[in-house]
């Protein structure tokens, strides 16, 4: 019997490409966020409100990830932001290679902030580093206040939580403080914002914070 010592991470290929992406972002002085959530939490709507708020003052580029269609990229294109759509054809998360390939089609001249909107999925994206500076997780009030406890991996790995659709609180069974506290039990250092893309409540606070950090 003989033993070969290996000590290699299984996802090392992705990690290596993520490092390359990170180096490119650093070289171009790009602040990059990985926007994650369940399907339908409002990631694209938050992106639209963010682009509206910055209104070319801060130049933003977007990488969209979806299983099918380019609907989200078309929505973003209306705001004159450079955008590219990744269609995974069944893949349930973006990985570093998909992002590296997409970067080739993106005009990053003058861009300060790159937002990668991941495939709607609260499980798999938490394990795949794309090279981002931080993950921003969106949880909407319609999803219930126990979400962070049910998907701890994603909330552990995020730096920011945006609680979206706060305008619907009177109509849903969700206690805002419970949701916030559950998230903080999993990750006490989470920065929390509360937004509504319909009323624009909380959007300025989120965007100001983002601009300060970009």
């Amino acid at each position: 019997m003989s033993i070969i010592t290996v000590e290699r991470k299984v996802l090392e290929k992705n990690d290596e490409i993520a490092r390359r992406n990170r180096a490119l972002f650093s070289q171009r002085k790009l602040f990059v966020i990985n926007l994650v959530s369940s399907p339908g939490s409002g990631k694209t709507s938050i992106l639209e409100r963010t682009l509206e708020y910055f209104n070319e003052r801060v130049k933003v580029a977007v990488i969209e990830g979806d299983v099918q269609t380019d609907f989200d990229a078309r929505r973003i294109a209306r705001y004159d932001a450079p955008v590219v759509q990744i269609v995974t054809n069944g893949g349930c998360h973006l990985d570093a290679k998909l992002v590296e390939d997409a970067l080739g089609s993106l005009d990053l001249n003058g861009v300060r902030l790159l937002i990668i909107e991941n495939v709607g999925n609260l499980v798999c994206p938490s394990n795949y580093d794309l090279g981002e500076a931080m993950k921003v997780v969106v949880a909407s009030t319609t999803e219930g206040d126990d979400k962070p406890l049910k998907y701890p991996g994603m909330f552990q790995n995020a730096s920011v939580l945006i609680i979206n659709k706060v305008d619907l609180l009177p109509y849903v069974n969700c206690d805002l403080n419970t949701l916030r506290n559950n998230a903080l039990k999993i990750n006490p250092s989470l920065k929390v914002f509360e937004t509504s893309c319909t009323t624009k409540s909380g959007i300025a606070e989120w965007c100001s914070w983002l601009e300060q950090h970009a």
């Binding site: 019997m1 003989s2 070969i4 000590e7 299984v10 798999c124 991996g153 006490p188 250092s189």
Partner: protein, 117 residues
């Protein structure tokens, strides 16, 4: 998570670590698997068996060292474990904690059977 693609990555690592003419001697691939690695051991085992069947690695199987989700509190120095992901110290309620382990997903070693075994 994606046990099938994870199994494929493990196969690739084994092929890169073992000389081609010795692949048929591989019996055990040992892995560290953290509570929050995102991977289910039984599913991974099943997928690995499925994709290694009818290859030189057909006699190999996976063994797992389960790594707990362990957190250390800077305030009271206590280390605690759980499988729900809480990082607030159960002893003193402190939030200045650091995760020590629990996200591992790595191939640690490969065991081969020699002719004289």
């Amino acid at each position: 998570m994606h046990e099938l693609s994870v199994a494929q990555s493990i196969l690739d690592i084994v092929r890169q670590s073992v000389p081609t003419d010795e692949l048929g001697d591989v019996r055990v691939v040992r892995l560290k698997l953290g509570t929050f690695s995102g991977v289910v051991a039984d599913s991974l085992d099943f997928c690995f068996s499925a994709i290694s069947a009818e290859t030189p690695l057909a006699k190999a199987h996976l063994e797992f060292e389960h790594i707990p989700f362990a957190v250390k509190c800077h305030h009271c120095q206590k280390t605690f474990e759980n499988d729900i992901g809480f990082v607030v110290c159960p002893e003193c309620g402190g939030v200045e904690t650091v995760v020590l382990s629990g996200r591992e997903l790595q191939v640690t070693e490969i065991e081969l059977e020699n002719e004289k075994d």
